[in-house]
Amino acid sequence: MPTSTYLSNPVVTVNSIDLSDQCTAATFTQRYDQLESTAFGDTARKYVAGLGNHEITLSFYMSYATSETFATLENIVGGTVTVIVKPAVGADSATNPGFTLTGTLLPELPVINATMGELSTIDVTFVGGVYSKDVTP
């Protein structure tokens, strides 16, 4: 049984623009390249961490209105920005860390993803960048 409950209601900031109210899913993966270091004499494969290769995948409702999803993302696709995702509203702290990817690239942007009778949504993935965790209020 879980000892603490986490209501999935994170704050998502892209290039200092708060897009939380358009975001429905966020996955921030801290990852390092996996370099094999197995050698003669080993009886199992061994690996060491290589370069950081982090990524963030965000799901947004698509909106072409002023200051909304498209206006935010169309000016940064193909460029690097800083994306911050934290578990809840409020200041950064040890229990509400601001997970940050600095200098991350948005390589592609689906400009239309429309289905009859459904709200339009898009998934975007930011790749690369330097990972950090801010716990300072």
Binding site: S16, I17, S67, T72, N75, T80, V81
Partner: protein, 64 residues
């Protein structure tokens, strides 16, 4: 240069925006999220030259 917040997604509209060093200002300006507080004329644009009341000598007639 100072910037003013336009969109509530960045902060309180009307307040001065102090960008962090990592912020892509071009994207914020292009998207209309912020605007410059004081728009100064471009430095490479020279002031409009005064037109002399005296007419310049006609080049074609001078050649003849």
């Amino acid at each position: 240069m100072k910037y003013r917040i336009v969109s509530p997604r960045v902060g309180t509209p009307g307040e001065i925006y102090e960008p962090e060093i990592w912020v892509n200002l071009g994207a914020l300006l292009d998207g209309g999220f912020i605007e410059p507080v004081d728009k100064k004329p471009a430095p490479d644009k020279p002031a409009k030259a005064k037109v002399s009341k005296k007419a310049a000598p006609d080049a074609t007639s001078a050649q003849e």
